[in-house]
């Protein structure tokens, strides 16, 4: 079986690896337009921050028998009748099954001065973009980022970590408005300010002017911001050009079914370019899940494998920022408190001075959405509960504070006097307070004598202080009577 994979990004590399891992007699050809081997897009902001080098973002790749990876080879057309793809260098590659993993492209907003893109204005999407940003940032002092979504903020954070003075310009009233509510957005803006990233909110850009000395961004409120470079992070659009030209069903993305098949059953689409059940993903985890399903079906391992989308969790994690957002947390609670199912609950905690904000929504003991920003020790639990639709803890406070406060475990007694005789002092040797008291009464006086008689503190040794405390207390409470 000949399988051709178009584009060698995170989705394309993953499906190649998934297919290769399943062995079998298949010839896998990967055609990647970018000149490099597959890399981890998620790590590009770390690369931008200067903490790692380019080799560190490389992804593992399928290599060896049966896998032919060709980088720098752009596919120009699909001949569905001949079942061949044509490449820019004039080659044709026949396929029995074709996987489109063409990803998405950065959107360049329709602003005056951006067509064509000036040198100092760079989208943030690919490794090449990253290289150009880094080149432009060398010797630069100020940077602008247009777009206050997840990627824009990551780029801003990366550039700030390089010591640049960064301003994020965002047309909406608060950052990441699709994931956050206004209060969370405000806390996030404060957090960013503390990290050297300024924000200009609720103001659309109206034009760009760039020359050899710098770039100027004009805003709708009449202000003009000046910088050495401008990074564009204004969203992405699925790359459906090949699919569209080949006559496949295309909406916003290439339309696929639960098996990730397009309108041609010999062609699948996965990752950013695919539109499943009306939704685009734009994230790596779903792309990899899709790659797995296609591999399972193509390899015959599980012909019934189907893609089931998981709920989206947006996670922004960089030094000094810890944000998780999921579900319907941005919306207002319906007036009557019910939509379907039981009444909606809402939990909130805000400590804006310390950059912490939490808002969780619960219905029928299940999380329906959450925003967690700052120091939220239960974030791992919240993400898992949301992901799995698992019931939330009876003590809701543990979702905000990381631990339950329900019936408290018996606290160690402040004084041995308050300790019941049955209280275990030494776990390792199962010695209770009563036994130590009895030993004292029988004449043991020092910790060593008490230990020798009861074996307390002879295991891990952790209760030695407690035994000493009891000895002291007994010495005070029952003065040794000289005989």
């Amino acid at each position: 079986m000949r399988i051709v994979i178009v584009d060698y990004g995170m989705a394309g590399a993953r499906i190649a690896a998934e297919l290769h891992a399943r062995g079998g007699d298949r010839k896998i050809t990967v055609l990647g337009a970018e000149p490099h081997r597959a890399y981890n897009r998620i790590m590009l902001s770390t690369l931008l921050a200067g903490k790692i080098g380019e080799p560190d973002v490389e992804l593992t790749e399928a290599a060896g028998q049966g896998v032919d990876v060709r980088t720098g080879v752009a596919v120009t057309a699909i001949d569905r009748v001949a079942r061949e793809v044509c490449t820019a260098d004039g080659d044709r590659h026949g396929y029995d099954h074709l996987v489109l993993a063409t990803g998405s492209r950065a959107l360049v907003p329709p602003l005056p001065g951006l067509h064509p893109l000036p040198d100092r204005v760079i989208p943030f999407r690919t490794l090449d973009d990253c290289r150009r940003i880094l080149a432009a940032a060398r010797g630069a002092r100020r940077a602008l980022v247009l777009g206050g979504g997840l990627l824009g903020l990551e780029a801003a954070r990366g550039l700030a970590a390089r010591g640049l003075d960064v301003t994020v310009v965002h047309p909406t009233g608060w950052l990441m408005e699709r994931q956050l509510d206004p209060a969370a957005g405000a806390v996030l803006a404060d957090t960013l300010a503390g990290l050297g990233v300024r924000t200009a909110l609720a103001v659309p850009a109206t034009g760009v002017a760039a020359d050899a000395d710098g770039v100027r961004l004009d805003l709708a409120d009449g202000r003009s911001l000046h910088a050495d470079l401008l990074v564009l992070s204004c969203g992405v659009r699925p790359d459906t050009a090949l699919a569209g030209a080949a006559g496949l069903a295309v909406d916003r993305g290439v339309v696929v079914d639960d098996r990730l098949r397009t309108s041609d059953r010999r062609i699948s689409a996965i990752g950013d370019c695919a539109q499943h059940d009306g939704e685009l993903t734009g994230l790596v985890a779903p792309a990899w899940a899709q790659a797995r399903v296609v591999a399972q079906v193509l390899a015959g391992e599980d012909p019934l494998a189907r893609y089931r989308p998981r709920p989206v969790v947006t996670r922004l994690k960089a030094a000094g920022i810890d944000l998780a957002a999921m579900g319907d947390a941005t919306g207002a609670t319906p007036a009557d408190g019910t939509v379907h199912g039981g009444p909606a609950e809402e939990l909130t905690f805000a400590d804006p001075a310390r950059g912490t904000y939490a808002r969780l929504r619960i219905r029928d003991d299940r999380l329906t959405g959450a925003i967690l920003l700052g120091d939220n020790p239960a974030v791992g639990t919240v993400v898992q509960l949301f992901d799995r639709g698992a019931p939330v803890p009876a003590d809701r406070r543990s979702l905000l504070l990381g631990r339950a406060f329900g019936p408290a475990p018996a606290a160690p007694a402040a004084s041995p006097a308050l300790m019941p005789d049955a209280a275990t002092v030494c776990q390792c040797n199962d010695v209770r307070k009563g036994a130590l008291v009895a030993c004292w009464r029988a004449g043991a006086r020092t910790v060593e004598e008490l230990s020798a008689a009861t074996r307390a503190a002879t295991g891990c040794g952790g209760c030695r202080d407690a035994v000493a405390g009891i000895a002291d207390w007994l010495a005070g409470a029952e003065p040794v009577v000289s005989r």
């Binding site: 890399y39 790692i52 120091d375 898992q384 799995r388 002879t458 295991g459 040794g461």
Partner: protein
Amino acid sequence: MVLREGGPRIEVAPRPFPTNRGGLCQKGWTAADLLDHPDRLTSPLLRDRPGAPLRRATWDEALDRVVAAIRAVQDRHGPDAVAVFGGGGLTNEKAYALGKFARVALRTRHIDYNGRWCMSSAAAAGLRAFGVDRGLPFPLADLGRADTLLLVGANPAETMPPLLRHLADQRARGGRLIVVDPRLTATARQADRHLQPLPGTDLAVANALLHIALTEGWLDRTYVADRTSGFDEVRRTVAGYWPAEVERLSGVPVADLEATARALATVDRAIILTARGAEQHAKGVDTVTAFINLALALGLPGRPGSGYGCLTGQGNGQGGREHGQKADQLPGYRRIDDPAAREHVARVWGIPVSDLPGPGVPAYALLDSLGTATGPRALLVFGSNPVVSAPRAARVESRLRDLDLLVVADFLRSETAELADVVLPVAQWAEEDGTMTNLEGRVLRRRALREPPPGVHTDLEVLAALAARLAGGAPSYRRTHNRGPRPTPEAAERFPADPQVVFEELRRASAGGPADYAGVTWERVERDEGVFWPCPDPEGPDTPRLFTESFPTPDGRARFHPVTHRPAAEEVCADYPLHFTTGRVLAQYQSGTQTRRIDALRRAAPEGFVELHPDLADRLGVAEGDAVRVVSRRGELRAPARLSPAIRPDTVFAPFHWPGAARANSVTNDAVDPVSGMPEFKICAVRVEKA
């Protein structure tokens, strides 16, 4: 510990020693209680026919029966139709002799042991990374000087309490302790940070820690370049384990992952230790490998005060895995499929190399095949109780029942002995000389304090007698006062009952192997507070610290191996919606054959239980102490509920020390690691019902 003979009674007394520093838990203190326990076996037992009760028999009768049955089985089905199952509690001498007995006296390839269920994943991972498997490549006391100590799936506060003395040292010096465990264990409570991942996700956690170390620029790139090989592929693999994704998989917050990576990477001395929680999985070898990769990338192994190690689970968990009890192994940690190793060992054993069998199969595969068309039809068990300790125990029990012959050498009527055709009463620890090798790779002496009671023989004597009968066939066996069976001259030479003679042979057999004992003598062990292997020369030094200069691999470099997360062999589903995991409690040990018979321990831990989170209990309508059933696809256990917020609400726990209705291994999964053969004791899918 040492023993004092206090008149007629033997008492335990602590002794200062660098490993336990004089510490003993209740199990150690009470260990002498079994020496004269009323349940002690003092006569062979024999079953006249299937279904008949076990009755007392003479040694002659019992041994004749064993030998006749072995001959009958082997005549009919060939030498491999007899199998041997050993234990990680046997002394080095016994473990060595048992491996030799299987290959030389029985000429079977089938021998394996319960350590397969304990140390095999860490062993396999250590071997492939470092070229050697020694639990700790440094003395235990190094823990006390670590700036950061990461314990993964280890609960020494309950399983090895004296070790905590070193942790107390560590904390007193300002060191940080980080514990990874799905339960807030007694050990985790003492930690500065507790990561509480979903069971079965440790590998991903390790890869995420390495991912963070990579992205933060914390790798020791010089060390990676100079002392290791294979990093590039690991680097590309962990690039796919960004923290947010692993948080979602494991439930460990990104901030905790970052803080852990930082604590390991930005200090002088850091130690990473794994134990069964990480290892007893169908991906146990890869999970350990992921932590070794992390340690290597941070430049820890071989650096003073730093490194990777694993905590041993049984009394002789280290020595028991070095000298031939394993299916694929010859003494000195040699491979049985290595022609040079076969040549060497065959010469020591005085047999043609062509007579030496090849590798057998790992423990569970062996037990699973018993009594089947292709499996062994006779089994000899020494120092193990698989009816309680094997995964999917009901299946194993049924396999044992289908045997033509089951022989159990033990000093108590274990649940496995109850199924035996012949039970041979053997000596206890205070009645035999020998050596053990502890988790530091330190060879220690065990000294006999008294003779075994009348009617009881040592394991070595039993092996000698069986070998003699198998060799000669003549009634060559004559019992003398307490010194046991007297074998024929040749067999006596080949299977000596004197442990020091056995040890001398072990030295020769191990010479030149990875676990080289050639320079270890009993005298030296006694003089020097133990001897660390490898120790090839009686006059030369031993090796308290490995890897300081190089690794025992062909090119002297440690080897990275890329490893990827995969789901547990059995995932939760609508019918079995909860994760089940198993472990130990403080006052019991292993299958409980010994500890369940000690009054003080029974008082401290009287019965099995099922630990579940109060929220889960509430949903199930279960209150503290209610009987609950834990049901998996393989079986069920029934025990009282113990409610505790220390466990994740999606996971239930049961200790594995009890037989019968509370047997945790009725539930566990028999999926095994493809490399080590380790069963997946630590995770399967269950439902919990009020019983």
